[in-house]
Every structure is written in structure tokens, then in C-alpha cells.
């Protein structure tokens, strides 16, 4: 088996993985003829596929298929369209875990829909897209992956076809995304114009044509702007965040969970590759860390403040997603190994925290039939697991020790201070403080307020399993952060080594 899987060599791993997942996706498409009778089979196949992917990547990362025990810190520059490095591994595993968790809850969530099997096919294809996005090292490959990830997710957003809100969300998401795709493609074409290649790593080696001082600087800056704006749509960075609250609220809640974690998380991988490799300081000679700092401040502030008075819990989570994107961007602004470590670490943590929160809310909404905060009153008495999972994930998102979010936020703020961006850390801390207000408010409604009725609300098994796994990840990482931290650190270090440049060299202490 392993010989078949590794027939393409270690670099073929993403290909192997996509082939396996795509096969499963196709089988599930065929299964849709059976209608809803096949939904459990589809769930089994999809979960199996995701679990296989997680194990496959983990084994690959641990050096199971190769002679060397693990990846070296410095990865040779690849001109292939996909790569296998620590960055892609950690993003890949995070995406697959999120997809696995969401997949567990689909059958329980869509009790009224007639075509649940289709959901699994779409889930698999959007996951493949996200995976390829994390693995891609070529701008064209990246764009294809981007579209593969996006298109099924429009359908997923509008999956409740009789629900006008779901449809509206899908249309809004689609329109903005189409805009983003266009802008992204334009940015890519400008880079091709400047360098004559679409390979990300090919760009950075020895080519200084994008350099600001080469006279083509404005074109380079235009390319950078368009790419940043395009990614910004998926990253939920202000001011490209406008669609987020509407789409997350209208979409089926578990899809919002998927969008805000897998899709968004996956986008950070190519963003990091493009900004740190193509537009690295030494080749581009243009310091864009301030731009990221501004985006980080805008995202944090808008996300956290707008959530304060929000009454719809899904919208609160949507704003929280915007705010959290701001924290992650701090690491990009810091631009050091510590900064990227913080970003990667926080993306990993954020994925488990946010998906846990959305799944818990999805389960609660199933019972209460409303995402209004007031209907959450006294939920602690009416449900067992969902309020606990939601509480833990919200506290983790708020950065309470000893939960996972605390450590990654700590790393991010430290990295900002270390890169002489102390003011950014201060803004981040103030925002963290503000965010506690709305995170804890939900907890307060669930545990301290009087329940409108005492009837128990149902908790289904798929949700139970998914929530328990997510909570375990959050708590385990919080209590013992070292392994994940080290993983993020290894990824950041090897990635910056492969970029062979230290961005914003003049301003940051190299750590």
C-alpha cells in the first residue's frame, strides 16, 4: 500500500491524497442516486477519507515513508506546483480535522433536507481545494485550488435551498468571491508580467525584477495590493470582510464553521508563501509589514467592537472570526520566525476553537430554532455538552489560560513586541480585553440567566463526538502547548529558511 501511495515520491503525497479523496467524492456523487438512504454511507466514506488524510499526512510528516526521520529545517527550493513542507502539513492536518468534525455533524444537522449525500461530495471537493491551496507553490495551481475550494462552498452556503437567508448568503458570498477571484487573477498576471514565471519559489531565486528599485516597483505594488485584497476576502480582513456576517448568518451554521476555519485557514498558507517569498524584503525592497499591521488593527478593532452589541450569536462568531484574523495578521506584520510561529500556532488553535464554537451553536440552534442571544438563556440547564463546549471554545477564543488560544495569542503579542511593534501588541491586548465582553456574555446568557422553559433540548451523537474531539484539542493544547507550538515553530523556521530571506530584516530581531 505504502509503495503505491509513495510511487510519486514524497512530493507526490498531495497528489496521492487528492486522488484518494477525489475518488471518494466521486463515489459519493454516484451514491446520491440513492437519495437520503445513502447518507450514512456517505458520512462513513467521507469521514474515512478525512481520517485517512490526517493519518497519511501525519505519517508523512513523521518521516514514515522516507528514510530520513523527519523533514529537515531547510527545504530545497521546489519548482513543482505542489510541495510538501511543514507549512503544508500543519495546514493540511488542520483542514482535514475541521472537515472531519464538520462531516460528523452533517447528518444530524440536516434533518429536513432530502439530498444530504450531496453535501458530503461538496464537502470533500471543497476540502481538496483547501488542501491543494495549502500545498501549492505555483500561482496557477494556487488559483485553480482557490476556485476548487470556493465553488463548492457557494453551494454549501446555499444548501438550505428553501431558506431565503441561506440563498441570499450564497449569492452575496458568490458575488464578493467572484470579485476576489478576478482581482487575484489580475495580481497573478502582473507577477507573471514582471517575472515571467508563475512558480512562487522560482520567483524568489535570484530574480529581482519585482524589486521596487528596478523601476517596475509600482507594478509590483499593484500586484501585491490585488493579491492582498483577493486573499483578504477569504481571510476576513477588514475592509474586505463585508460579506462575512451576512454569509455566516445565512449559511447553514455548520457551513459557517467550515468557511470560517478550513477555507480561511487554508488561505493563510498561500498568503504566507506569496508575501514572504515573492515579496520578501530582500527581493522586493519594500516594507509591507506596516500594511499588515494596519490591516491587523482594523480587523481586530472592527471585529471585536462590532460584536459587542450584536444579538445574533452566529453574527457574533462572524465578527469574532474577523477579529481573530486580525490577531493572526499580527504575526505577519512582525515578520519574524516568532511572528510566523504565532500566526501558524494561532491558525491551528483558531481552527479548533472556532469550529467547536460554530458546531456547538449549530447544535443549540437546532433545538432553540433561533440564533438570538436571548434564546440562549439558561441553556446550561437544558443541554449538557453544547454549552460546555461553547463556553470552553469562547473562553479559548478570548485567550483565557489554560486554554489553547492563550498560548498562541501570547506568542503573537510577544512577537510584535520583539519586532519593535509594541504598539501593535498593545492594540491586540486591548482588543482581547474588549473581546472578552462579548465572548463571556454568551456564557453568561447560557449559565446565569433564567431559562424560558425547562424542557431538555436534544443532543445528537454526531455533534457529541465532534464537540468532544474539538474540546479535547482545545484543552489538551492549553494544558500542554509544547507539541503544537513546536510544530508551528518548525513550520515557521523551515518556511523562512526556504524563503531564504528574512523579511523586514532591518526592523525585526531575527528569532
Amino acid at each position: 500500500m505504502s509503495s503505491v501511495l509513495t510511487s510519486l515520491g514524497p512530493e507526490g503525497m498531495p497528489i496521492d491524497l487528492t486522488i484518494v479523496l477525489a475518488t471518494i467524492g466521486l463515489i459519493i456523487i454516484i451514491l446520491t442516486v440513492l437519495g437520503n438512504r445513502s447518507k450514512y454511507l456517505a458520512m462513513g466514506l467521507a469521514s474515512g477519507g478525512f481520517a485517512f488524510g490526517i493519518i497519511f499526512i501525519a505519517l508523512q510528516a513523521l518521516g514514515f515513508f522516507s528514510s530520513s526521520s523527519s523533514l529537515p529545517y531547510s527545504v530545497p527550493i521546489v519548482t513543482d506546483v505542489v510541495t510538501t513542507d511543514w507549512v503544508s502539513y500543519i495546514f493540511g492536518i488542520a483542514i482535514l480535522i475541521v472537515a472531519f468534525l464538520v462531516g460528523l455533524t452533517v447528518v444530524d444537522y440536516f434533518t429536513d433536507e432530502s439530498n444530504v449525500t450531496t453535501f458530503y461530495a461538496l464537502l470533500i471537493f471543497t476540502t481538496i481545494g483547501a488542501l491543494l491551496l495549502a500545498f501549492s507553490t505555483d500561482l496557477l495551481m494556487m488559483f485553480v485550488a482557490w476556485e476548487l475550494m470556493s465553488i463548492p462552498s457557494y453551494v454549501l452556503t446555499g444548501f438550505k435551498k428553501k431558506d431565503p437567508a441561506s440563498n441570499e448568503a450564497a449569492v452575496k458570498y458568490f458575488l464578493v468571491s467572484a470579485f476576489a477571484s478576478a482581482v487575484l487573477l489580475y495580481g497573478i498576471s502582473l507577477i507573471y508580467l514582471l517575472t515571467g514565471t508563475t512558480s512562487i519559489y522560482g520567483n524568489s531565486v535570484g530574480t529581482t525584477i519585482v524589486s521596487v528599485s528596478s523601476g517596475y516597483g509600482p507594478v509590483g505594488i499593484l500586484a501585491l495590493t490585488f493579491l492582498l485584497a483577493g486573499f483578504g476576502i477569504k481571510l476576513a480582513a477588514v475592509p474586505f470582510h463585508m460579506w462575512i456576517p451576512d454569509a455566516y448568518q445565512g449559511a447553514p451554521t455548520i457551513v459557517s464553521g467550515l468557511l470560517s476555519t478550513a477555507t480561511k485557514g487554508a488561505t493563510f498558507a498561500p498568503a504566507a508563501r506569496i508575501f514572504f517569498v515573492i515579496f520578501s524584503f530582500s527581493t522586493f525592497q519594500h516594507d509591507w509589514s506596516l500594511t499588515f499591521a494596519v490591516l491587523a488593527v482594523l480587523s481586530m478593532t472592527l471585529g471585536n467592537f462590532a460584536a459587542l452589541t450584536q444579538k445574533s450569536v452566529t453574527r457574533i462568531l462572524a465578527y469574532s472570526s474577523i477579529g481573530q484574523a486580525g490577531y493572526i495578521l499580527i504575526g505577519f506584520a512582525a515578520g519574524s520566525i516568532l511572528g510566523l510561529t504565532g500566526s501558524f500556532f494561532h491558525i491551528l488553535n483558531y481552527a479548533s476553537m472556532q469550529v467547536c464554537a460554530f458546531l456547538a451553536v449549530a447544535l443549540i440552534i437546532q433545538g432553540t430554532r433561533s440564533d438570538n442571544l436571548d434564546t440562549f438563556n439558561g441553556l446550561g440547564k437544558r443541554m449538557t455538552l453544547a454549552p460546555i463546549a461553547l463556553t470552553l471554545s469562547l473562553l479559548a477564543l478570548g485567550g483565557f489560560p489554560p486554554l489553547s488560544g492563550f498560548w498562541s495569542k501570547l506568542t503573537l503579542f510577544l512577537s510584535a513586541i520583539n519586532s519593535n511593534l509594541a504598539w501593535l501588541a498593545v492594540v491586540g491586548i486591548i482588543n482581547s480585553f474588549v473581546s472578552i465582553a462579548f465572548y463571556v456574555r454568551i456564557v453568561k446568557h447560557m449559565y446565569l440567566d433564567q431559562a424560558p422553559s425547562d424542557t431538555r433540548l436534544p443532543e445528537t451523537n454526531g455533534f457529541r463526538v465532534a464537540l468532544i474531539i474539538a474540546v479535547l484539542i482545545i484543552v489538551a493544547t492549553g494544558v500542554y502547548p509544547y507539541p503544537l507550538y513546536q510544530l508551528a515553530y518548525t513550520a515557521a523556521r523551515s518556511f523562512l529558511a526556504s524563503a531564504s530571506i528574512i523579511p523586514a530584516l532591518l526592523r525585526s530581531v531575527f528569532l
Binding site: I221, T225, I233, Q310, Q486
Partner: protein
């Protein structure tokens, strides 16, 4: 280096503290399957913990280094550190270690705790909220074992705080504060300060008073960290330059005394001893756990860990550098022993007497550990061994005493000894068991308390110098101890039945023996104190001494230990004589009742004055309330009215209003109109371009 730190598997040492914590969590889950499942999981957890702790002695890592290959020859430590988090800016490592001290303590703690858990099965039967109870009990034990197993101050402090929390939650377990759960007599006051405390009040008192010590402790370890850059015990011993740096700034002894402050709080030593008597508001099984297995022993363990470290670290600075520290420890120990014993003589509440006796006995242990540092370095192991021998011995008889008291209080429906009386016939098993453990407390041979108490007094006698004063205080305390232990037994079991019991029997309440789950544990403990007492002079005390002597040698304190009856004859006979004297007086007054204690007290104003002085807790509690608690509470009321209400309140109202305003403003952007979203997108691109062009250029 004098010691070896071999790398070995840290699985079992880690399991020792993890098992109770995980098991406690499991018992909560098991509660879903019914109360029986929960109880069994909780008790099985206690058993597995005890077995795991026993496994420590069998680890191959020990036997390979032993001289004779026996389990009593543990001479090396096994330490593994896991990195908790490591950033380029800081690294925090933590781990567990096993050395003779931790192994012996883990054994004592886990087995006594297990017996207490079994006892809880009967004692807490029919109570509500037992899921919380069993979880907290196991969590308590787990945190105590974490203190014992940790190899650095940081992890120790985590366990330390965990223990603090659990004690708070368990003392206040009956948080409904019904009158029957109060400690102290209603209406009684000392200088205007009420003497009765509700469980929640008592829990809070315990938490706050120990907190004072904890702050000192934290400051102490941070002081050390600031100079040594490590929390690790063995690294502190390995590289002692921190000590000379600290000494150069004159902070070495203060740091040690600050750390000792933590022990003073946790182990209820003067001046932070007042929480323990009121902690009796908790269930009796909790009292047993706090007094015998967990909480109060933590302080002794801390002093036992820190003492040698400071001794070794200061060795290069000349002898006597640490004299003030050890003298403080010994003096506080001796004074606390006397202070608490005097109060134990006069109180009527059974559990309060036992609480004072614990404070007093812990004082003895501190005295032993302090004397160890005061004596010649070669004699360090004598006081050290004595302190920990007494800890083990106290754990056994005090747990036994509490368990017996728990049954007595339950069956007589009264917490006062004077409302019991004449119970020896009905409660034969309890009577015999309690007699044995009380005699052990009284220091009567051949029970373990006799040998361990004498070991401490003998060490003080041998140390000479200032320790002679401590010895005399110790002897006086021993007399009081013997008196109050037998006094308690006499009042409860001898003489006629009290009115209360007769009323109960008239109402049809039959005074009956405890169920098996309750009497078996305390009979086992009574047996253990007897067996240890018999074995102590034969080989046990010597083995324990050589064990600790090897442990200390491993650290760098060379101090051989030898015990023989001959050389101890003087202190042994004095100890025996004192014990018999105390027992005899108590026998006359409370068993034969040929002397009337009331008449004695009233015979002279001096005795009467002392009686009231003791009964009112030396007025220390009242003093604290008058001088500290009430002024602070008045002061905070003032701050509340003038600062909180006038300054903070407006901010509290203003800040959220500001937040809502900003929030409303920002949300106004979210119009829900797609065209405007795309417009914003365009604005964003423009913004980016502006930033890039205006601020991005870097000229090289």
C-alpha cells in the same frame, strides 16, 4: 557532583499525581451511571493511586543504585523534565522526580487518603452533591501528590494552589450553611468577636489566611528565580552561585523565610494558624484528609525540601548563615506546638480539640526540621528524620482520631465531647481504636507517636544551645498533649452517659457501632500505629533514618544516621515519664474522676484566667478580627462608597456605553446591501495602495 540524576521513565511518577486527578474526573462521568458507579470509581481511584505510589519503590531505577538492593536503599533520584512551552524568549520546563523523601511521602499520603475515601463511603452516605465531593477529594489528593512529586518550585506551586482551592471548596462543602454544620458555639464571643463560623465562612477564612502565606511563598520563589534563573530543586543544588548572589544583596535568609511563610500558612503555624480550627466546619472525612494526608503536610514537605537546598547552597558562605532561618522554623514550630496544645486542653468540641492537636503536632515537625538545621551539619539527618517520622506517625493516628470522631459525632448527634460520655460499652471497636490512636498522640509506648515525638525531642536535646529552650517547650507541650488526648477519651467514653445521650435513647435512637466501611479504616490505622510503634525501635526508625541520610548525602549533606535505644535512653525516659504524668492527671480527672476539673479551674483566679485565655484562643483570633479584619472591612466599605461608587461605577457604565456606541457605528457599515460591500472592497484596494505608496518605501 554528589548526586546522580539518572534518566528514567517518568511514567509512574507522573501517574502518581495524574491518576487521582483523572480518576476524579472519571468519577464525575461515572455519576451519569448512578451513585454507586461514581462512588466505586472514586474509591478505586484512591486504591490505584496508592498502588502506583507503592510502585515507586519497585522501580528498577532505584534498585540499580541501591547498596543492598533493598527497597529501603533508594539513593538516587529519577528526574525527567518535559518542556511545557519553549519560545525563543523563555522556556518553561517541568517534571517529576522520585527520591526517598517523595517516595515516603507519596506512600503515606496515598494510603491514608485511600482509607479516608473508603471511610467517606459510609460517612457521607445519603448526603447530596457527592459528585462534587468525590471529585474534590480526588483532586485534592492529586494536587497534594503533585506537590510531593514535582521537581521544581513552579509545579509545586501549581499543586500548592490546587490544594488551597480544594481545601476551600471542601471545608465549605455544606455551603447551605445550616446551623448544624457550624463550627463553634453560637452566641459565644471573645472580646466581641463571635466564635461560631459557618462552613462557607470557614472555607473563606482558610483560603484567605493560607493565601497570605502563599504570597510570601511566591515572592520567595520568584526571588530565587530572579537570581538562579531556574525553579528546579536539583539545579539549585548543582549550581549554588545564586545563593552567594542573594546573600550579597542580603536576601538569602529573607527569601528562605518568605518560602517558609507558605509553609506557615498551609501547615497552620503561628501566626497563620487560626484557620485550621474553624476548618472543622467541613465534613469530618475532609478534616481527616486535611489534617492527616494532604494540606498541612504540604508545609512540612516544603520545609523539608527547601531546608537542605538552602543549607547546601549556603555552605560555601560559611556555617551559620542559615541560622536565622532554621531558628525561625524551630521557634515557630515550638511556640505553635505549645500554643495549640494549651487550647486543645480546654475545648469541648471534639473536632476542635483534634484540630488544635494537629496544629500542635505540625509544630513539632517544624521544630524537628528547624533543629536539624541548628544542630551540627553531621547531625542534620537526626532532626530531619524525626520531623518526617512524626509526619507519618501523625498522619496515621490523626486520620484515625478524626474518623473515630466522625462516627461519634454522627451517632451522638453532637459535636461536643461533654454531650457524649459513657460510650465505651456500646462502641467497643471505636473505643479501642480511638484509645490506641489517642495513646499514640499522647506519646505512650510502644505506639508510633511515642517514638516519633521522642525522636524530635531527642534531636532538640542533642543539638544543645538554643535548641535546649525548644526542648523544654517541647516537653511541656508533650505533657499537655498526653493530658488532652486522654481527657478527650475520658470525657467521651468514661463515666455516665450524658443527658444528650439519654435523651437520644429515650427517643428510640440506639447508640450503635459504625458500619464496616467506617470502622475498618480506623481500625487499620490504629493497627498501623501499633505495628509501626513496635517495629520502630527494632529497625524501622533506623531504616528511615538511613534512607533520609542517603537522600541528604545525595544532595550533598553528609550526615549519617544511627539510632539505638541506649544513647536515646535519657530523652526516651523523660518522654515516657512526661507522657505517663499527663495521662495520669487526665486519668484522675476524667476517667476515675476523683479530681473535679471544674473545681480545679475555679480554685484559683490564676488557673481560671489561664483557662479562659486558652479557651479564647489566646485572644489571637479576636485580635486578628479587631485589628485586621474589621478595619479592612470598614476601609473597604469606605473605598466602596467613595471610590468604587464614585469613580469606578461611572467608568463601568461609561466603558460599555462607549463600546456600544463604537459598535453601533461600526455595524452601520454592515448594511446588507451587496453593492456597498463591493464599494468597500474598492475602497480597501485604494487604501492598500495608499499605504503602500506613502509609507512602504524603504531606502537602502
Amino acid at each position: 557532583m554528589a548526586f546522580s540524576l539518572s534518566s528514567c521513565s517518568d511514567l509512574i511518577p507522573n501517574l502518581v499525581w495524574m491518576v487521582p486527578i483523572i480518576g476524579g474526573a472519571l468519577s464525575v462521568l461515572a455519576a451519569g451511571f448512578g451513585d454507586r458507579a461514581r462512588n466505586y470509581v472514586a474509591i478505586a481511584t484512591g486504591f490505584v493511586t496508592a498502588l502506583t505510589a507503592t510502585l515507586l519503590l519497585l522501580l528498577p531505577e532505584f534498585t540499580t543504585y541501591t547498596l543492598g538492593g533493598g527497597i529501603w536503599d533508594i539513593t538516587h533520584v529519577c528526574g525527567v523534565q518535559e518542556t511545557w512551552i519553549s519560545t525563543p524568549l523563555f522556556t518553561i520546563q517541568a517534571g517529576v522526580l522520585v527520591d526517598p523523601l517523595t517516595a515516603v511521602l507519596a506512600l503515606t499520603v496515598s494510603w491514608v487518603s485511600f482509607l479516608i475515601l473508603v471511610y467517606s463511603l459510609g460517612y457521607m452516605k445519603g448526603e447530596r452533591n457527592l459528585t462534587r465531593y468525590y471529585f474534590l477529594m480526588n483532586f485534592f489528593i492529586g494536587n497534594m501528590l503533585l506537590i510531593v512529586m514535582s521537581d521544581n518550585f513552579l509545579l509545586l506551586f501549581l499543586g500548592w494552589e490546587g490544594v488551597g482551592y480544594c481545601s476551600y471548596a471542601l471545608i465549605g462543602f455544606w455551603h447551605s450553611d445550616e446551623m448544624k454544620y457550624w463550627v463553634g458555639t453560637h452566641g459565644e464571643t471573645t472580646a466581641g468577636v463571635p466564635e461560631a463560623y459557618s462552613p462557607t465562612n470557614a472555607g473563606m477564612k482558610a483560603f484567605i489566611m493560607t493565601r497570605i502565606g502563599d504570597i510570601a511563598f511566591l515572592v520567595g520563589i520568584l526571588l530565587i528565580f530572579a537570581y538562579a534563573h531556574t525553579f528546579d530543586f536539583y539545579k539549585l543544588v548543582q549550581n549554588t552561585s545564586w545563593a552567594s548572589d542573594l546573600a550579597a544583596s542580603g536576601l538569602l535568609v529573607p527569601a528562605a523565610i518568605l518560602i517558609f511563610g507558605g509553609a506557615v500558612g498551609k501547615s497552620a503555624q503561628f501566626p497563620l494558624h487560626e484557620w485550621l480550627p474553624d476548618a472543622m466546619a467541613g465534613p469530618t472525612s475532609v478534616s481527616a484528609l486535611i489534617h492527616a494526608a494532604t494540606m498541612v503536610n504540604a508545609g512540612v514537605f516544603l520545609v523539608g525540601t527547601v531546608g537542605p537546598i538552602f543549607l547546601i547552597a549556603s555552605a560555601s558562605l560559611g556555617t551559620g548563615v542559615m541560622f536565622p532561618f532554621f531558628a525561625t522554623v524551630a521557634a515557630i514550630g515550638a511556640f505553635t506546638a505549645l500554643l495549640a496544645a494549651s487550647q486543645a486542653m480546654v475545648h469541648d468540641e471534639v473536632k476542635k480539640v483534634l484540630a488544635y492537636s494537629t496544629v500542635s503536632q505540625i509544630g513539632y515537625m517544624m521544630l524537628g526540621l528547624g533543629v536539624a538545621g541548628l544542630s551540627a551539619p553531621a547531625d542534620f539527618s537526626i532532626g530531619f528524620t524525626a520531623g518526617f517520622f512524626h509526619l507519618i506517625s501523625q498522619a496515621l493516628f490523626k486520620a484515625g482520631l478524626f474518623m473515630c470522631a466522625g462516627w461519634l459525632i454522627h451517632v451522638t448527634e453532637s459535636k461536643y465531647a461533654s454531650q457524649m460520655g459513657g460510650l465505651r460499652k456500646e462502641l467497643k471497636i471505636t473505643f479501642i481504636a480511638m484509645m490506641i490512636v489517642a495513646l499514640s498522640l499522647a506519646g505512650f509506648p510502644p505506639l508510633s507517636g511515642f517514638w516519633s515525638k521522642d525522636a524530635i525531642l531527642g534531636a532538640a536535646l542533642q543539638a544543645g544551645g538554643i535548641s535546649t529552650i525548644f526542648y523544654i517547650v517541647g516537653i511541656v507541650t508533650a505533657l499537655m498533649t498526653a493530658f488532652y488526648s486522654i481527657r478527650l477519651i475520658g470525657i467521651i467514653f468514661a463515666g455516665k452517659k450524658s443527658e444528650n445521650i439519654e435523651n437520644l435513647e429515650a427517643k428510640g435512637h440506639h447508640i450503635h457501632e459504625a458500619p464496616g466501611t467506617m470502622w475498618v479504616p480506623y481500625v487499620i490505622l490504629a493497627g498501623a500505629t501499633l505495628v509501626i510503634g513496635i517495629l520502630a525501635p527494632i529497625f524501622l526508625q533506623q531504616s528511615l533514618g538511613s534512607l533520609f541520610s542517603k537522600y541528604l548525602a545525595n544532595l550533598g549533606v553528609v550526615s549519617p544516621y544511627s539510632f539505638n535505644l541506649g544513647s536515646e535512653a535519657l530523652s526516651l525516659s523523660i518522654g515516657f515519664g512526661i507522657s505517663v504524668l499527663g495521662i495520669f492527671i487526665a486519668y484522675l480527672a476524667y476517667i476515675r474522676r476523683s479530681i473535679s476539673p471544674v473545681a480545679v479551674v475555679n480554685s484559683s483566679p490564676v488557673i481560671y484566667g489561664f483557662y479562659h485565655f486558652f479557651l479564647h484562643r489566646w485572644y489571637i483570633n479576636a485580635f486578628y478580627y479587631k485589628v485586621i479584619v474589621y478595619p479592612i472591612s470598614r476601609g473597604t466599605t469606605w473605598i466602596f462608597r467613595n471610590f468604587e461608587q464614585k469613580v469606578i461605577e461611572p467608568v463601568n457604565i461609561g466603558a460599555p456605553e462607549f463600546g456600544s456606541d463604537v459598535s453601533g457605528l461600526l455595524r452601520r457599515i454592515q448594511t446588507g446591501i451587496e453593492e456597498e460591500y463591493l464599494f468597500a472592497f474598492g475602497i480597501g484596494i485604494a487604501l492598500l495602495i495608499i499605504i503602500f505608496f506613502l509609507f512602504g518605501y524603504v531606502t537602502i
